[in-house]
């Protein structure tokens, strides 16, 4: 599979590649937060990104979604060079993200939170359509009965799902989830796994950054490993669990559990 990918990539833009990153770097005054990273993502792929704290995972997401401008390198989405685009434009062509910490619109209620991503899609839509779409996004994450609760009183688990509902509402082809399971109980994490699987089955490409490897390794098809900004490993969860460099950098003796 991976051989195939590189062949296609060399022959220019292709439907088989959704996102392609070439030698992407981001330096913060000497600190190489992301250093010469290249990889590509196919449509309907479920990918995990792992690495120790400060490895540059969040920075990578910020680069992909336009919140940071890369120091060097290029990003192609659907064959289009989107390097340096502003975030709202990147969101419009189909890349959505969530943040590492939940970021709801605190003084708006759940329904209004879910309405916001629908506004830019069609600014002239009927308000009933807007509401219905928002309610539908809430139904998909089991939040419909709390639609009138202001976000600041919702518990953490609900907020995590609200964040995901909002990012689904963008109707992305590529979804970047930054630690979607952090701070969640087993049941809550399971609900989110189900959401991710459903979305993946419908053909969405999803990239998940996560430290909870027990969950992640069973969920994803392919894993990328970052360490100090560099991509040090790439492969199926099984391959990664046996990769010596990855074991030294991150997994340690736990590695066998994921093998």
């Amino acid at each position: 599979m991976s051989l195939n990918t590189s062949q296609v990539a060399s022959s220019g833009p292709d439907e088989n590649i959704l996102l392609e990153i070439k030698n992407l770097s981001k330096h913060f005054e000497g600190l190489k937060a992301v250093d010469q990273v290249s990889f590509s993502i196919k449509p309907a792929e479920l990918i995990g990104v792992i690495g120790p704290n400060g490895a540059g995972k969040t920075t990578l997401f910020n680069l992909l979604t336009g919140f940071l401008k890369p120091t060097a390198g290029e990003i192609f989405f659907n064959g289009k060079n989107i390097t340096g685009w502003p975030p709202f434009k990147i969101s419009k062509i189909g890349i959505a993200r969530t943040f590492q910490l939940v970021r709801p619109f605190r003084f708006l209620d759940a329904l209004e939170n879910a309405m916001v991503p629908h506004i830019p899609q069609n600014i002239l839509a009927k308000s009933s359509t807007l509401r219905n779409k928002a309610i539908w996004s809430l139904i998909t994450v089991d939040l419909a009965e709390k639609k009138n609760y202001p976000a600041f009183i919702l518990p953490h688990g609900d907020l995590k799902r609200l964040d995901i509902a909002r990012s689904f509402a963008v109707q992305p082809r590529l979804l970047l989830l930054d630690e979607p399971f952090s701070g969640l109980s087993y049941e809550e994490a399971f609900r989110i796994q189900r959401l991710i699987r459903d979305a993946h089955e419908k053909g969405m490409s999803i990239v998940i950054v996560e430290h909870k490897l027990k969950i992640l390794m069973k969920l994803v098809e392919r894993v990328l490993v970052l360490d100090r900004g560099r991509l040090i490993g790439e492969g199926s969860p099984k391959e990664i669990a046996n990769n010596v460099e990855v074991i030294n950098a991150y997994l340690g003796t736990e590695a066998k559990e994921y093998g």
Binding site: R106, L108, E112, V116, I119, P120, S167
Partner: protein, 540 residues
């Protein structure tokens, strides 16, 4: 349903809406009733069958007799001023409360619009001395168009400034906006040919409604005409602002206020929405500015000073940021406070307005940090009751035989108490008796009711239910008032006495009305345990 639940439900959303309707009714009716004898207004004539309008005309009578209102025309002018400030405050709330972009320099837009409106209306003759360029054409527009044109140019200025300054956020944006009016101010002082420099510009031409020169502002019909015009503009402007704020555009603004990056990640074009909010806000601020200039018939660089920017912020904070109605409430409160009370009570004392703004601001931020419009049910009730106490306190003693006529048949001592206090006691006792159903001749009393005194009756009931605390406040505030003004400050209140009393009564009444139920509950729990007929323990 428990009666206490009923009373508590009095302050729900529906009641809030009722207050708004009531406020609109007062805005529309009140000035007319002040100017025209009520019985000559045709519509009211039909409704009230040619007789006096019970509550409103009574309030007017009392206000006039007790010196609370002063001259009628003056209060209409105050109302016009309130409306103008309300538009201005709402426009600030629109940009800061809704889209979260803190503006400390809103005076820039209203001052700029004033000048533009003036130039356009006066026939702007381009003659810049330095370049000595006489283009030789005059743009002459009707004053109404001048008003809109001024606001449009203010909006254009906001687009320009927005593109430059909205890249920065929060604290830095606040600093930049603070500087903008200062720059305009010094420009206005520099280009004296255009702006009249420190002396400003003065002419009749800017007036939409033809008004006589400033001295005749107290002419009834002129004041009323201008008031109607301002009222119309106010309704249009506020409706537009509300429509935008409650629409999806308003939702996008709010999402930017809550979390800029999250909004941007969901596809909201944050920069453009910010500029849009800034522009719309500047437009309405410009409208307010044009009206203000017309009200004073005068444009000068003082209107660009930062005290105007801060005044409008204080109004919004007191009223409640992010609500639009909050700005309106704050504008009315402060404008009336300054123009009706402070200017009378502290005649000739400078800086009282800013001092009292500061005190009000501190009290608001301590006790209702989200503003009056978002205060809790208890606080709203306390405000309403406090004002009712104060009104009752002024109105009831000021006219003999008022409630007594109405209640003469059922009063314990045949309705002939002479002094106001005993009158108050007997009436309140009677109305409490009526309320708890202990009066035998209720039917007889009801048979004397006509439409004429029904409204008066209802108002009386509301006031008298709470008349016992009102009496306590009556005494407290009298003592405080005399002590404060006559003993400590040595100010002889004279004419302004009633206004001062009203003010003191509001100030002492609101906390009292707020704490009374709590005190009562505490005492009840300590000495009687659970109240037998209530049977419900509420820890509080």
């Amino acid at each position: 349903m428990d009666w206490r639940e009923i009373i508590e439900d009095l302050w729900d959303d529906v009641t809030d809406r009722a207050y708004y309707i009531f406020a609109v009714a007062i805005l529309i009716l009140f000035p007319f009733i002040l100017v025209t004898p009520p019985s000559t207004l045709p519509i009211l004539n039909i409704i009230f069958n040619g007789s006096r309008i019970p509550v409103l005309s009574d309030i007017y009578d009392f206000g006039y007799q007790s010196g609370l209102f002063g001259e009628n025309v003056w209060i209409i002018n105050i109302f016009s001023l309130c409306l103008i400030w309300a538009i201005f405050a709402a426009s600030w709330d629109f940009v800061t409360g809704y889209s979260g972009q803190v503006s400390f320099g809103h005076a820039a837009f209203w001052g700029f619009s004033m000048y533009v409106a003036y130039w356009v209306a006066a026939g702007f003759h381009v003659n810049i001395p330095i370049i000595d360029l006489d283009l030789g054409f005059r743009v002459e527009l009707e004053p109404l168009f001048a008003l809109i044109f001024g606001a449009l140019l203010a909006a254009l200025l906001a687009v320009f400034l927005g593109i430059i300054s909205l890249r920065v956020r929060g604290f830095y944006l606040a600093i930049i906006t603070l500087v903008i009016p200062l720059i305009l101010n010094s420009l206005a002082n520099t280009f004296v040919e255009l702006t009249g420099g420190n002396y400003g510009l003065q002419s009749d031409v800017t007036r939409v409604v033809p008004l006589p020169p400033l001295g005749d502002l107290f002419d009834e019909t002129h004041a009323l005409n201008f008031y109607i015009f301002v009222l119309l503009v106010f309704f249009v402007a506020i409706t537009l602002m509300m429509l935008i704020a409650f629409s999806r555009v308003g939702l996008a603004f709010q999402s930017i206020r809550e979390d800029e990056e999250a909004a941007e990640s969901l596809g909201i074009n944050v920069r453009n929405y910010k500029i849009l909010a800034f522009t719309l806000s500047a437009f309405f601020a410009g409208i307010a500015g044009g009206l203000y200039a017309q009200w004073f018939n005068y444009v000068s660089p003082t209107y660009l000073e930062s005290s105007y920017s801060f005044q409008v912020i204080i109004m919004c904070v007191i009223g409640g940021v992010g609500t639009i109605t909050g700005g309106i409430i704050g504008a009315f409160l402060l404008t009336i406070l300054v123009n009706v009370f402070l200017k009378n009570v502290f005649r000739g004392v400078h800086g009282m307005d800013m001092l009292s703004f500061g005190i009000l601001l501190i009290i608001t931020l301590r006790y209702m940090p989200y503003g009056l419009a978002r205060s809790t049910k208890d606080q709203k009730r306390a405000c309403v009751l406090g004002i009712l106490f104060a009104l009752a306190w002024i109105i009831i003693p000021s006219r003999e035989g008022w409630g007594v006529e109405l209640f003469s048949s059922i009063l314990p001592n045949n309705g002939n108490p002479t002094d106001p206090l005993s009158k108050l006691i007997s009436i309140s006792v009677t109305s409490i008796l009526i309320l708890i159903g202990k009066v035998d001749n209720l039917g007889q009393m009801l048979s004397t009711l006509t439409l004429d005194n029904l409204l008066t009756f209802i108002a009386l009931i509301i006031i008298f239910i709470f008349s016992i605390p009102a009496m306590i406040i009556f005494l407290i505030s009298e003592i405080i008032g005399i002590f404060l003004f006559e003993v400590i400050m040595g100010i002889n209140l004279g004419e302004a006495l009633n206004k001062a009393k009203f003010l003191i009564c509001v100030v002492t009444g609101i906390p009292f009305a707020f704490y009374l139920p709590k005190i009562f509950r505490t005492i009840r729990l300590r000495y009687w345990g659970v109240w037998p007929s209530v049977g419900r323990y509420e820890p509080d």
